[in-house]
Symmetry: C2
Subunit: 241 residues, 2 copies
Amino acid sequence: MRPRLVLFGDSITELSFADGGWGAALADHFARKADVVLRGFSGYNTRWALRVLARAMEGAAAGAGGSDPAAVTVFFGANDASLPDRKQVHQHVPLEEYRSNLRAICAYFKEQWPSTKIILITPPPIYEPARIRDMYGEDDPSKLPERTNEAAGAYAQACLTVAKELNLPAIDIWTKMQQFPDWQTSALCDGLHFTLFGNKILFDCVLETLESIGFSQGSLQPDLPLFHDIDPKNPLKAFEI
Amino acid sequence: MRPRLVLFGDSITELSFADGGWGAALADHFARKADVVLRGFSGYNTRWALRVLARAMEGAAAGAGGSDPAAVTVFFGANDASLPDRKQVHQHVPLEEYRSNLRAICAYFKEQWPSTKIILITPPPIYEPARIRDMYGEDDPSKLPERTNEAAGAYAQACLTVAKELNLPAIDIWTKMQQFPDWQTSALCDGLHFTLFGNKILFDCVLETLESIGFSQGSLQPDLPLFHDIDPKNPLKAFEI
């Protein structure tokens, strides 16, 4: 049976099948070799994610008798890092609780799916002027952003700490993205969510991380004959399986 | 558990998660309400599809104890309609066998997944000059195309006949696409596969057909609270479920 990749996260995961999205790109890349299962929940922080975890994963694994997913990406923190004294206070989760929620999410997956590789993804960087525009329009530039890059960086660091502690692979998209020129607008469309280019950056990181855990185009076999392996003189021979 | 849509077909299905693809668009549209499972097999005709059907569907349903998929699209014929005396002869399947293979595929689904709605999709129209270029390059315009629009139309008609006979919903993408101006190049990129616009046409048809069988954004409930339904003053209330 085809291995599965489960994408668990907030809006950046939920939106990952929109045009040029990193989730759709994974599904396309592994079209003949793996299933990609979307479990994105816009606006969710780790507190809410933890609360719904069991229900969120219904149907994500292969069902009774099937194998565990090959890997699951856990991509939260952008909402947890909303500042506690600003507009999106209800999404805020204190840093220490974020860490402990991430640990609990990983513990759940280890318990439910012992053979599944967990990949942690840090929250992305934040471009504050675009957040102010997104929240308040152009009218009042004196407003304060509901998220800051500094806070996102602290949550990114906490995510990396948990990954290290649990010996899990992690993608530090907060740092990675900021290495690209004009990342503020080339990688982010509203100071938080991804442009096509931002999606491409994360897609490349996920592929690279999957490869590091032995999950790649090269290492996976297609479950059924590929067209270019079918002998035009005797096509049915390829199906004698 | 989330309902599932299974997309079963040839390359036009396999490629449906590439940028702007109709499969990714479905996954995005139903991101919080349904899972979309990709089972596309480039180059396959109904003869080969029938041969691999059981294996192709491994993991596509929810597994033991789970529900049948809500719907499956069956989208073959473009390869069956390759002409028997041209370059892609090994993909050709005679019209009568195409009809009988389609019936057998539908019978399999009815047997395995009694409650699943089967949606047949006809092969798309063909733009022959682009097929010649795709097969032979620009060098020799005297070459003959391996597929013709006329042949594709005959297979489309056969597909509609089977749908009528089995009382199944069908999408006549062969006719539908030809209603758009410059469909030859606006909807098709190589005389056979879909442009972004072609993908959009099919996506709209699939949504419309799903709606006709009671499967739509409006009729489906999200399995977990949507962000805009969460009370900022008491977020956890939404999760008391």
